[in-house]
Symmetry: C2
Subunit: 244 residues, 2 copies
DNA sequence: TTATGTGAACTAATTCACAGCT
DNA sequence: AGCTGTGAATTAGTTCACATAA
């Protein structure tokens, strides 16, 4: 359970167990970027880099360095002035902040293309998450092997959640079935849900739902693409008007 | 090209073509929510609802009504005081703001599970986007039918972009191949890219890249789940301390 | 009445710029 | 000499609360 103590290089923080981690809390915007930093750090570590300055880390994460430093400062003071950050140590600190020093048992509901993509999405799911089960209502999919698990029938949901102490449910079913699956997850005590179905789920307070929508980002791209072409059009029109 | 004029119910705005749409620009946070409103509006329209108040639309989009009204106010004044919004008209106005009154030709690179999930993601991709091609480097996938298109070999990328005037590229290949595909898209003139590969793409200025990361949201969930269990732990510790 | 649209107040996030540590 | 960590300044986003219009 407690893991900070034995990690190499983790200087024992003052040992009062009741100390709140990250007093004052970490801003949402920062939390949303920590996974990006973590990925960049893993990439650096794999290249054998042991120390990195905020400039370089910021560049490989696609943010500016002031923002990176401010973000990291919410976790603590883990850099060395004049030098930079120790990559391995920072990996640990960011992982710890995100709650990834433990591995979260996950159930994926839906073994369609998306569920399959998720089950095979090795890289980062493997660090911090363990896919305990993939479920589907289609009997012809039950028994097939996805990644490292066998597809089970969705009727086993409640039993599997209890058996594996599942904390996070991923909904990768069509919109029509999503709310019902969500209700069942909530009823069995799951309080963290990642929703890929294109609808807003209704949940009681205390349940944390996040969504990933494959089409929203595309629509935002369309907005900017349109803006670019409108701008060109307006420029051209203005030029024409100026000449007239 | 111009489509506003013939849409039923669209009161001719003052007809100066050079008028910038949405003067002052629409805030990013608003743009990011418009697709959610649009989806909620479509759902209402399908249920036969013709008029909706900000309270109800906000509820089905999962935001509060003040935010919804402020967001919509950036597009114009399309509600009726004392009544609400005309659903069909608002669908049109939001679509127009997002640039979805035209259909954007899209190429999907990668016909793995994710590419397949995208190609079959009927619902919203069909409104505003047309998948012109799905490409893969694996010859055993070439020729297979995905959704309504046949998988082509990735060597045809440049030709297909030119032929169909493709404006948006979707990268659904493993991380190792993503930057190379991105470079080829950029070289052929694509300026809007949606990246599903877990890395930060390098692009020249003027190219708009957005990313969808299947694991970042999961990591954010883990953060909050951890916070909840830490809070419980601290509570319990405090209680124990108080009793001692 | 009733529900929109919006200034004003507030809160969050970003960026600047530099003091302070190694 | 160089890079972190952070107050202060700025900018963006949210929420309030009510005048205004149908």
């Amino acid at each position: 359970m407690s893991s900070a103590a034995e990690f190499p290089g983790s200087e024992a923080e003052p040992g009062n167990l009741a100390d709140r981690p990250y007093p004052g809390g970490i801003p949402d915007a920062t939390v949303a970027r920590l996974p990006v930093y973590l990925r960049a750090l893993y990439a650096l570590a794999e290249r054998g880099v042991t120390t990195v300055a905020s400039d370089e880390l910021a560049r490989s994460a696609g943010v500016n360095s002031a923002k990176l430093r401010k973000d990291l400062s919410h976790l603590g003071s883990y850099g060395i002035r004049g030098v930079g950050y120790d990559v391995e140590y920072l990996v640990y600190q960011v992982s710890r902040a995100l709650g990834l020093t433990q591995r979260w048992p996950v159930v994926i509901i839906g073994a369609g293309n998306l569920g399959r993509a998720l089950a095979n999405y090795g890289g980062f799911l493997n660090r911090g998450f363990r896919i305990e089960a993939v479920l589907d209502s289609d009997p012809s999919l039950v028994g097939r092997k996805l990644g490292s698990v066998i597809v089970r029938h969705v009727s086993e949901l409640e039993a599997l959640v209890a058996e594996h102490g599942i904390a996070i449910g991923v909904i990768a079913v069509p919109a029509g079935a999503a709310q019902a699956m969500c209700d069942r997850l909530v009823a069995t005590g799951v309080t963290s849900i990642l929703n890929f179905a294109p609808l807003v789920l209704n949940v009681p307070g205390g349940v944390d739902v996040r969504k990933v929508d494959l089409s929203i980002e595309l629509q935002i791209l369309a907005f900017h693409a349109q803006r670019r072409s409108t701008a060109r059009f307006v420029q051209a029109t203005d030029r024409a008007a100026a000449e007239a």
